[in-house]
Symmetry: C2
Subunit: 261 residues, 2 copies
DNA sequence: AAGTGGTCTAGACCACCGG
DNA sequence: CGGTGGTCTAGACCACTTT
């Protein structure tokens, strides 16, 4: 006995996409979910959770897999996000992240009328892995200071960062309160080091491993990777960062004069 | 009758992830697929296709959905990619895209020993949509030149671009062969306009609509959006671009002096 | 303890691509 | 037209979170 391909969704089938023969069910579901999202009112400070998957299944007369396809689409668009095993939530608007503004995280967030918080996961001196050593012009295995933090906007964990510092530049820096102070402020005021040049590398990946766990991100969801190498006023490399952002949490921007005119 | 939760995979279960109680099947599958990918030899110029899904199902004794979960993971990591309804392929290494190098697409690609090609989809004068009008300092509905192109690296379509130009800057530019010439070269040599400042906006989304279709990207797969507003040597906005890249095709880079020291 | 999302089974039909 | 990937059904068990 073959299961008939039913189309049980009782939704208004607006914009039937001329040029495309059939609109997949998940696409119509997507529209219904968007209406649901709008009806929930999206711009609060409290995390706004969607109904349980099984409830949405009942409401829309569909299957778990199809529903999750539609949710995954919206997740990719950045309209909703997941906390691992906790549910689906409406995504707040993106933080505007100007790569060349030279702003510390807290300043950047607060300048956009949002609340920043930082959680220190670890701060210790460790032997440099090869890829870190290369960036910092050190030899593999030599000591570097490693700082791992999680940062949140309005209580939502959005960023996992690993810093690696050249210890010859920042003796004793691990003794400061690294959850409260911006690193760049410490660099300047305690060590008279200014960041005068930044090399960025940006790419997209997925969460998984420590970064995913720290952000409560479901393994496999999209992440924005930002790697940064910082030089001081003398052109010397002093530290590097590896940032992993929830992809829907930021919009990157920069304004500059291109070379090779 | 309840289906027993079998674990039929006969793969070496390397690194059982201490600290995590159970490794999901798709995770072990992922490793098996990685081995398969390595065995296929990844760095050719010919697109290297994976076996059909049903064949991989048989080979790994698993289900379609589980297999696709694993494949989707690898797709998110940028190790493999899809062409819509055509199959899964091994992803070539990423193009290094220096945002501030001021290089035209062909020059950038060829400087990395790869082959660039461009397909012109449309070139016409159209009324400006609101968001374009705003960027170009025009009023909504006023005429702008619109150029849509698809660009490929080593034959693989990786980039969909829409340009919108201020027609007062570039009269008659649509009559040039826009598949062969770089726009910036035309700007300079035919109109004596140099791009002296660029405003970028970067974000991640998913394919769907014209961009996805033009790249043969499966709807819902990850895309890197790059929006660009170009100013000439007099500070005047002359055009803007909307680029959609296959997320695995590029790695963005830039080096600059941050403000707000 | 109840409920949630994460994972998985074992199929089926359909649209589309390539030969 | 055969084979492929895209979509969908109708469930189940499990790990984990929350009550």
């Amino acid at each position: 006995m073959s299961a008939p391909r039913t189309q049980p969704i009782a939704l208004e089938c607006h914009h039937s996409t001329p040029g495309s023969v059939s609109t997949p069910t998940w696409h119509r579901l997507r529209d219904a979910l968007l209406a649901l999202i709008d009806s929930l009112g999206n711009n609060r400070k409290r995390p706004c959770r969607l109904p349980a998957e099984r409830e949405m299944i009942a409401r829309f007369s569909t299957t778990r897999i199809t529903l999750r396809d539609a949710l995954t689409q919206l997740e990719g668009e950045g309209r909703i996000y997941r906390e691992n095993r906790r549910g689906w939530f409406i995504a707040p608007s993106r933080l505007h992240y100007d790569l060349l503004a030279g702003l510390a995280f807290h300043d950047m967030v607060e300048s956009q009328q949002r609340q920043a918080s930082t959680l220190l996961l670890s701060a210790s001196t460790v032997p440099a892995p090869l890829h870190i050593a290369r960036r910092l012009w050190l030899s593999e295995g030599s000591a570097v200071q490693r700082i791992v933090r999680v940062r949140a906007i309005d209580g939502r964990r959005v960023l996992y960062v690993e810093h690696h510092l050249r210890p010859d530049c920042f003796p004793g820096i691990l003794d400061f309160d690294l959850a409260q102070h911006s690193l760049t402020a410490l660099y300047r005021h305690e060590y008279a080091i200014r960041i005068a040049r930044v090399d960025y590398e940006l790419g997209s990946t997925i969460f998984g491993g420590p970064a995913g766990e720290a952000l409560h991100a479901t393994p496999g969801t999209a992440a924005q990777r930002i790697t940064r190498i910082n030089r001081d006023q003398n052109g010397r490399v002093v530290d590097c960062d590896d940032e992993y952002w929830r992809h829907d949490a930021i919009e990157l921007a920069l304004s500059a004069v291109p070379r090779g005119g």
